[in-house]
């Protein structure tokens, strides 16, 4: 079942056409990697999927709630982990905040850090906190823009495992990454942004493209 389906979407900035007349879909429960060269329009596509940007033409249908985590962590550095989670939970009208936050902290192994200021956390832990914030409103689609950016191989592994875990719990994952060797292993399917076109590709095709 398609959880996201896009039909004939296009996006231009002035005279520059970034996405043109593309039709694609994302399967429920999949981990979909968006691949493409730098400046090909991956981030624009992600922002269109999240709803930050409206397409000039065409239509995107999303069957579920979206959570997102951008390349730069969307956290308040001078708030503790718990304070950040509570703040965003309140903004997102999350019910049973206490229970949900407690679950998220346990699930993402953040219990020990709940009172630590975000600015004092490592890059990987920060990313986990950021993803925890994305999961506050129980999304069934999680969009991650460059989740491995700035992380060392150990942390990349940690986050990869974490993404798998979330996916196992039924959350569809869409992500971009320039860490090429991780993406083919992680993703079950892909979207290739090439010359303004978004093309659906299989896991093997992702591997081929990265090779």
């Amino acid at each position: 079942m398609d959880i996201i389906s896009a039909r004939d979407i296009s996006k231009s900035f002035g005279k520059k056409r970034v996405i043109s007349d593309s039709t694609f879909s994302v399967k429920e429960g999949s981990i979909t990697g968006i691949v493409g060269l730098n400046g090909s329009g991956k981030s624009v596509l992600i922002k269109m999927l999240i709803g930050f940007l409206k397409s000039n033409s065409g239509r995107i249908e999303v069957n579920g709630k979206i959570g997102f985590s951008m390349q730069n962590n969307s956290l308040y550095e001078n708030l503790s982990v718990k304070e950040n989670l509570y703040y965003f939970a309140r903004l997102s009208n999350v019910h049973d905040k206490k229970e949900k936050i407690s679950n998220l902290l346990s699930r993402l192994s953040l219990k020990d850090y709940e009172k630590v200021l975000v600015k004092n956390l490592s890059g990987g832990t920060k990313k986990r906190v950021d993803i925890a914030c994305s999961l506050l409103n129980d999304p069934n689609i999680l969009i991650l823009d460059e989740p491995f950016s700035g992380l060392d191989p150990n942390l990349i592994n940690e986050i990869s495992k974490f993404i798998f875990d979330i996916n196992k719990k039924g959350v569809t994952i869409i992500l971009t990454s320039h860490v090429f060797h991780e993406l083919p292993d992680l993703c079950s399917t892909g979207l290739w942004v090439k010359n303004g076109q978004v093309i659906e590709i299989s896991k093997s095709e992702i591997k081929r493209i990265y090779k």
């Binding site: 930050f52 940007l53 956290l75 550095e77 903004l91 009208n93 914030c133 409103n137």
Partner: protein, 530 residues
């Protein structure tokens, strides 16, 4: 090392060049400020001084004085009572209240000892005194206004003084002349009296001589009669009447010489002595008068004589909480200081908090959360609002211990004014936060706006010193409106009353600022997502 330093310098210049708004602020900012400063301080003469005038009794002087005020850029509004006159200043609608008082008991100072009556010299001209009721919180213009009125009063005083002193000199000269001629007459009279006295003395001597001669003659006559009687034994019927007649004659003579003449002469002598003494007194007094005239001539009456006394009093007199003490310099300055603090802190904090949020990574999550734009703006607005409010409360509480004015006597009006003004300045600061994209430029923008407001506030260039167009624009400056409000509440204790134009304008400014803020937020939000 120098090469690397130059490289860093060049890099920073390039960064600035590429950030167009920063470059614009850095280069155009000082130019704009200098232009504004020139505009503000280029012509500092006072203009359009809103003035209430209360005249106790209309006179030629009061009418001429009023005309002169109008000629000197005072905008005059006549009032029927002194209370109406003062009320305009208390409400901060007017800069001052001029009271022209009639003082019928007024006389020349310093000249009373001479007993010269002023009435002789157009007394009505000297029956006015001028009292200026001023709002001393307007430190920047209050002395200018006093000096301006003083110059006008002086020009009148000078005319009056010249006329009066000319008249007085003439009178003094006349009196001095009269005194001199009177003294001469007294001298002549004294001399005549001396002559009379000497004549009387001679007459007395002659009379004594005559009396002695006559006495001798009487004695001779008596002895002759006795001899005739002894010699001729004349019958009693003949000689007796002769004796009787002789006795009567002698008695009459004795009476004449001993009683009448002596008494008359003695009385005359006494009278003459008295007159002589009186004349001496008159002469001495005339000499004293002459001496006073001499002294008067040596005095600089032009300086000492002030025909139209000018007084000035503070409109805030009597509001001090400490009995028998008047508001001090700091008290007068406090409303302006508080206004400045509210404006500066609100604008700067409003701008920096918005920029800090915008450059924070978490901002995008906030934007995309299930939170309306209004809620987002309101949340940020309230953050700054309460921070500034707490700061202002701390300042007020601490100030209440060392200021002589009662800060909380109009607490309702004070709170309303502070709340509305903080709201206005915070909105303005937040607008800057959304206009500028970096913390540095936002702070620079906030400081520039604050300087602009201060530049055109009563502390540096009051409205009365500005050209017409600039004045009409800056009369809506929130800082000026707030200064007026706080001055009224804290110094003049008039409160807001049922309708306060300043508060209404501030309220409207807040609504407009908030609408602009919302619009700007929506525009910037779109840009930030892209």
């Amino acid at each position: 090392m120098l090469f690397k330093s130059i490289s860093i310098l060049w890099k920073n210049i390039l960064v600035l060049k590429n950030s167009k708004l920063s470059a614009l602020i850095i280069l155009i900012g000082p130019v704009l400020l200098i232009l504004l400063l020139g505009l503000a301080l280029g012509n500092t003469s006072l203009k359009n001084i809103q003035t209430n005038l209360y005249v106790e009794q209309n006179t030629t002087f009061s009418n001429q004085f009023k005309e002169e005020l109008v000629k000197n850029s005072f905008i005059i509004q006549d009032t029927n009572t002194l209370e109406d006159c003062l009320s305009g200043v208390r409400k901060k609608e007017k800069v001052l209240c001029i009271e022209i008082k009639n003082q019928s008991d007024f006389s020349f100072p310093n000249l009373d000892s001479t007993n010269i009556q002023v009435d002789k010299i157009s007394a009505s001209d000297f029956q006015n005194s001028i009292n200026l009721h001023l709002d001393f919180s307007r430190q920047r213009i209050v002395w200018g206004v006093i000096s301006k009125v003083d110059a006008i009063v002086n020009s009148f005083s000078q005319k009056l003084r010249k006329n009066a002193l000319d008249e007085l000199s003439k009178e003094v000269l006349d009196l001095e002349g009269t005194a001199k001629s009177n003294k001469a007459i007294v001298k002549v009279s004294s001399a005549s009296l001396t002559n009379i006295k000497s004549n009387i003395r001679n007459f007395q001597k002659d009379l004594e001589e005559d009396r002695k001669n006559l006495n001798n003659s009487f004695k001779k006559l008596e002895s002759s009669i006795d001899e005739v009687d002894d010699l001729y034994k004349a019958p009693d019927s003949i000689i007796f009447p002769v004796f009787v007649a002789f006795d009567k004659l002698k008695e009459g003579w004795t009476n004449f010489t001993e009683n009448q003449n002596t008494k008359i002469l003695e009385n005359s002598n006494t009278d003459i002595n008295r007159i002589e003494n009186n004349l001496k007194i008159v002469e001495r007094e005339l000499s004293e008068v002459q001496q006073v005239f001499e002294e008067l001539r040596s005095q600089d009456l032009d300086k000492e004589f002030n025909p139209i006394p000018l007084f000035y009093t503070s409109i805030s007199e009597g509001i001090s909480k400490k009995s028998a003490s008047q508001p001090q310099f700091l008290d007068y300055l406090f409303p302006s200081f508080l206004s400045l603090f509210i404006a500066f802190i609100s604008i700067t904090l409003g701008a920096t908090i918005v920029v800090r949020e915008r450059i924070s990574g978490a901002y995008i999550r906030e934007i995309m959360s299930k939170t309306s734009d209004f809620t987002q703006i309101l949340g940020r607005f309230l953050t700054v609002f309460f921070i500034v409010l707490i700061q202002i409360l701390i300042i007020l509480i601490i100030s209440s211990f060392f200021l002589t004015i009662p800060l909380f006597s109009n607490i309702g009006s004070l709170i309303v004014s502070i709340i509305v003004s903080i709201a206005v300045f915070v909105s303005m600061g937040m607008i800057l936060g959304y206009i500028f994209d970096s913390q540095e430029t936002a702070i620079l923008g906030a400081v520039s706006l604050s300087i602009l407001l201060v530049l055109f506030s009563s502390l540096i260039s009051p409205l009365e010193t500005l050209p017409d167009l600039t004045r009409s624009i800056f009369s809506f400056s929130p800082l000026i409106l707030l200064e007026k409000l706080l001055g009224r509440i804290l110094l003049l204790e008039t409160g807001l009353g049922t309708k306060s134009l300043e508060l209404i304008v501030l309220g409207v400014t807040f609504i407009i600022s908030f609408i602009i803020l919302m619009g700007l937020y929506k525009i910037k939000k779109r840009g930030e997502i892209i």
